[in-house]
């Protein structure tokens, strides 16, 4: 029972790291980026390639799993995405779905369609017994890493100069520009950072979520649930939404496997209908 709770929390943490970039682009920049999962997939594949082909240790691959998608995100943002900020949501949806299709076929072409396996280092494998609860070492590692990330993100957004610039640029881009804030730069950096986080999440979660070319489509709906249920005005909303989703999904698969993903989809629709602005947001 507690083991399920623990696994659920670890799963939710990974989901949060995966989805928080999306909650920033969607919530703060009002851009529907259905291709967010692509960056996560890239991160996962970077780790898989570095470990399986070049023999780099797992921990050392993580910075690359962050940097490569971040760079990719930066390039795409500068060349393509920024043209679409002002377009309507339908255009953004079509555009990013197109990117997802391209990415899936491209990864399939380069890497093959089989799932990628990641061999964890020995010190992260196995479980320990703490007060009668079975706790997976890797799950604890994930919770620790993601916990630190969550706190760091929240601090960056609320306490640093960059965080306040970002919030200002989102609230009113014109006034922010007038005050001398380089909004284009702020958006680009934010986008790249979000993509990098997704990549990191993809690398960390590869062992739990699985990694194959259909990853962006398979988990797209999870990201969207996190963002829509959590609301997009802060990071705490998506954080609790991810935990809830993670626990509900793990517990649901364990106790009522016949219902499958049915429960979480229904929850999403109900929340969207009754609280379109998200579950954890005060109604305006």
């Amino acid at each position: 029972m507690l083991t399920i709770l623990f696994d659920g929390i670890a799963y939710g943490m990974v989901l949060f790291v995966l989805a928080c970039g999306l909650s920033i682009t969607l919530g703060l920049m009002n851009f529907v980026n259905l291709a967010h999962g692509v960056f996560a997939m890239v991160g996962g594949y970077v780790t898989a390639i570095l470990m399986n082909r070049l023999g780099v240790p797992f921990l050392l691959t993580l910075p690359f799993a962050f940097l490569v998608p971040a760079l990719l995100g930066l390039v795409l943002e500068r060349t393509l995405y920024q043209r679409l900020y002002t377009r309507n949501h339908l255009d953004q949806v079509l555009f990013t779905i197109g990117l997802v299709f391209m990415a899936i076929a491209a990864v399939d072409y380069v890497m093959g369609s089989q799932p990628q396996l990641i061999q964890l280092p020995t010190w992260l494998r196995g479980r320990v017994d703490v007060f009668g609860v079975q706790i997976g070492l890797y799950r604890s590692f994930i919770i620790a890493v993601c916990g630190v990330l969550v706190v760091a993100l929240q601090l960056i957004l609320t306490r640093t100069r960059f965080g306040s610039q970002l919030r200002a640029a989102v609230d009113d881009p014109r006034v922010a520009r007038g005050l001398g804030i380089n909004t284009a730069l702020v958006f680009a950096v934010t986008f790249a950072f979000g993509s990098g986080l997704a990549g990191l999440g993809g690398a960390l979660g590869a062992e739990i979520l699985g990694l194959d070319p259909t990853f962006p489509l398979k988990f797209l709906i999870y990201f969207m649930i996190v963002v829509t249920v959590g609301g997009t005005s802060s990071l705490t909303g998506p954080f609790f939404a991810s935990l809830l989703l993670g626990i509900a999904d793990v517990a649901g698969k364990y106790y009522v496997p016949s219902l499958g993903a049915f429960v979480i989809y229904t929850v999403m629709i109900v929340v969207l209908v009754f609280r379109p602005q998200g579950l954890f947001v005060k109604a305006r």
């Binding site: 969607l26 529907v32 393509l80 043209r83 679409l84 377009r87 309507n88 949501h89 339908l90 255009d91 949806v93 079509l94 555009f95 779905i97 197109g98 990117l99 997802v100 299709f101 391209m102 990415a103 899936i104 076929a105 491209a106 399939d108 072409y109 489509l217 709906i221 969207m224 829509t228 016949s258 219902l259 499958g260 993903a261 049915f262 989809y265 229904t266 999403m268 629709i269 969207l272 209908v273 379109p276």
Partner: protein, 340 residues
């Protein structure tokens, strides 16, 4: 010929609702294909069904401005309904078709309340969610739908008790074409009716529409229901003519594909779905012959390029070109469809 503004408006409306030569030509070709292209009936059948599906999306996206990421929900529901109906009750195609339309329409009516609650992004997500939930139900209710194996053993009786479905798809194509044509006539009548005009008003400016006394929500519910019934009809046609239903009918990529077709063909004039379906199916055929496994890459690329060029601008340019060829004044650019 000068008249009061009302005369001018009436004349303008009558003109837009009149049949154009090109329209007649299109349907003549479509019916002519029954005799002219006997070896392509299977693919033609697929195209006309997809076109009907795309047209149903055009009804809500092009005329009412409701963007949907889960329109395949109704297509799939109609397909499963028709398939299961044929197995459990009776194999008569027309009965199955009508009932599938009614059932999909009912489903559309119920879900329209969910869809209309939100705006824009929430709408997209709700439509997507509805399709996912239905897909999940179809996947899990193996005893009824066959789950991942698909619904097998659909046996269809002859159409009208006269025409058996044959191996070459001739009956299938004629059947789908006639049904599509009749539904098209109805849709064409509806979009030029006062009801259709009020939908366009809602699409262009919901606030003003409400201010001049149009019951916005009721109109949107009505058109959403209608579009759901149309999509259900397309699904039922597919189930009946292929005598097989798989989870594929309700998958996310089908919703995305139909959106892509409509974007290729252009929204808001009913023929966009037809043009898009033809282009899409031919492209799919060509590309998957060339590179069977990776054809989604090229579809994705087309989508990206279409959006970057700007679909409104492209449609407008096509309209300008068309007007120049006909020697008529250039049309004004239309306002953006969908979103906001």
């Amino acid at each position: 010929m000068q008249g009061t503004p009302i005369d001018t408006a009436t004349r303008h409306l009558a003109e837009t609702s009149r049949w154009k030569p090109l329209e007649c030509a299109f349907w003549l070709v479509a019916f002519g294909a029954i005799w002219l292209l006997p070896s392509h009936h299977l693919i033609l059948n697929e195209i006309i069904i997809t076109a009907l599906f795309a047209m149903s999306l055009d009804l809500i996206l092009g005329y009412a401005g409701i963007a949907s990421l889960g329109h395949a929900a109704f297509f799939g529901f109609g397909a499963y309904f028709a398939g299961i109906f044929a197995i459990l009750v009776i194999g008569d195609p027309l009965t199955g078709l009508v009932l599938a339309m009614l059932a999909s329409g009912a489903l559309g009516f119920i879900t329209s309340f969910l869809v209309l609650r939100g705006v824009d992004l929430a709408r997209l997500m709700v439509t997507l969610g509805v399709a996912l939930v239905l897909g999940e139900i179809a996947n899990k209710m193996t005893w009824l739908t066959g789950g991942a194996d698909g619904l097998q053993g659909v046996m269809m009786g002859p159409v009208l008790g006269l025409f058996e479905f044959d191996l070459y798809g001739r009956t299938a194509y004629v059947y789908s074409l006639v049904v599509t044509f009749l539904l098209f006539l109805l849709a064409r009548r509806i979009v030029v009716s006062p009801f259709g005009l009020s939908l366009r008003t809602i699409r262009d400016n919901p606030l003003r529409a409400r201010a001049i006394g149009i019951p916005v929500n009721r109109r949107l519910i009505a058109v959403y229901t209608l579009a759901a019934a149309y999509a259900g009809a397309a699904g039922a046609l597919l189930a009946q003519t292929t005598q097989f239903v798989s989870l594929d009918v309700i998958a996310l990529h089908r919703s995305a594909d139909v959106l892509l077709m409509l974007v290729i063909g252009g929204t808001g004039y009913l023929y966009g779905g037809f043009a898009g379906a033809i282009v899409f199916k031919v492209l799919q055929d060509v590309i998957s012959n060339w590179t069977p496994q990776y054809w989604t890459f090229w579809i994705g690329l087309i989508l990206v390029i279409l959006v970057l060029i700007g679909r409104e601008r492209m449609n407008h340019q096509a309209a300008v070109l068309w007007a120049r060829l006909r020697g008529k004044p250039e049309p004004r650019p239309r306002t953006i469809v969908g979103g906001h």
